[in-house]
């Protein structure tokens, strides 16, 4: 189908809620990958659901300054941060810069499936702050440019760039012995 995201958004806004479906199909997988690496597999689908629900309800707040995909990822990233904050609060009081296992408490079947390299990557991701992790996975796996990462995380491009730098350094350091 040739409709751009902007066309579909316009149709949904005009009252054709069915036009939201292709938007779900286009963006659910990317949001899932983000959520999975941020919060772990168990909650990833919930994050996707909530993200798209919010996107639908808040569509009138969406301004086409950023792409629909970027906007959706911003909603998803904020949900992930909320979730991680709640988890952290449950364990320890007021952590300003929350760290949270990328895939907490892996189930035995997961461990069996995971290659050693994957386990290493997950462990390395655990060493990042949540913002570093989001910036890194958007840059590294999702192919987002620094400018889009800045939009998703609602920080300046300089801050986004520095966050990616820090993340890469930490990832390299913790994977140095493994690869």
């Amino acid at each position: 189908m040739g409709d751009t995201d902007q066309d579909l958004v316009a149709r949904v806004r005009a009252g054709d809620s069915g036009a939201f479906r292709p938007l779900v199909e286009r963006h659910a997988p990317g949001v899932f990958r983000l959520a999975c690496r941020m919060t772990g597999e168990t909650d990833a689908e919930d994050v996707v659901q909530e993200t798209l629900l919010r996107a639908f309800r808040q569509l009138d707040k969406y301004e086409s300054r950023s792409s629909f995909g970027t906007w959706i990822h911003r909603i998803a990233a904020n949900l992930c941060f909320d979730l991680l904050r709640v988890r952290a609060r449950r364990r320890a009081p007021a952590l300003d810069d929350v760290r949270e296992p990328a895939c907490p408490a892996p189930r035995p079947d997961r461990i069996a499936i995971a290659t050693q390299a994957r386990a290493g990557v997950l462990e390395a991701l655990d060493g990042l702050t949540v913002r570093e992790r989001a910036a890194f996975l958007l840059r590294h796996w999702e192919g987002f440019g620094i400018d889009r990462i800045a939009e998703v995380l609602e920080i300046s491009e300089t801050a986004a760039k520095n966050t990616v730098f820090r993340a890469v350094r930490k990832m390299r350091a913790s994977l140095a012995g493994r690869f």
């Binding site: 990958r33 919930d46 629900l53 979730l83 390299a117 440019g145 890469v168 690869f179």
Partner: protein, 223 residues
């Protein structure tokens, strides 16, 4: 260009980002030290790239199916409604459930649905908080502790929980419905159980309750 390239420059080059010195590519070709450094960085990052997330099949269809019931019918515009009217309608919507009218004769118009949902969300936070306290009490209690108060409270919460679950189902809020289903089971076990009490409340359930609580905006009474 005077010195060697820094790691930050190499990272920018690796990802094809702007911001590295203008002659960085040229320097990489000329300088074996920087070339080796870039090679090391690239191979480390390349190896991480192999870590793929498996997106579960049918994800988009499931998400879409759960979204649909909450969507307004096409071409219905949402006009701002007077707050007083909203509050009354919300009270009536909830009261109608108290009176046992659990099924509507016809699908309600979007506005009634919205109103009911608002009322649901507005008071759900408090209900979840109370329930969570009971679950926490029970799961932290030493074996053999007297839990009669918690059982009474659980029975009380059960009644309202059913109401919330039905409202959530009606409004198509499946994420609440599922949670409330699970909560109902946990409360039921506490309310009915003789020793030993289950630790069935489960981390995951507690966690999801907290998440939903944390998502509810008290000012709007809405997500």
């Amino acid at each position: 260009m005077t010195g060697h390239l820094g790691e930050d420059d190499l990272i920018l080059l690796y990802y094809g980002e702007r911001g590295a010195p203008a002659d960085a590519r040229h320097h990489l070709r000329e300088c074996p030290d920087c070339a080796a450094e870039f090679q090391a960085l690239s191979s480390a990052l390349d190896r991480m790239a192999g870590d793929e997330v498996h997106v579960p099949p049918g994800l988009s269809s499931r998400v879409w199916a759960r979204l649909q019931p909450g969507m307004p019918a096409p071409r219905i515009r949402r006009w701002p409604k007077p707050l007083a009217w909203m509050a009354t309608a919300a009270a009536i919507a909830l009261a109608s459930f108290h009176l046992g009218r659990h099924t509507a004769p016809e699908p309600p118009p979007a506005t009634a649905m919205e109103t009911r949902e608002r009322a649901l969300v507005a008071s759900l936070g408090h209900h979840l908080e109370r329930s969570r306290m009971v679950l926490t009490e029970v799961s932290n209690a030493p074996i053999g502790a007297d839990l009669s108060n918690e059982r009474l409270e659980a029975r009380d919460l059960l009644a309202s929980n059913r109401l919330y679950r039905q409202t959530a189902a009606f409004a198509g809020r499946f994420e609440y419905q599922d949670l409330l289903d699970e909560l109902e089971q946990a409360l039921l076990e506490i309310a009915q159980e003789t020793e030993p009490l289950p630790r069935a409340s489960g981390e995951n359930l507690m966690f999801r309750m907290k998440v939903i609580e944390s998502k509810i905006d008290p000012q709007e009474g809405q997500l």
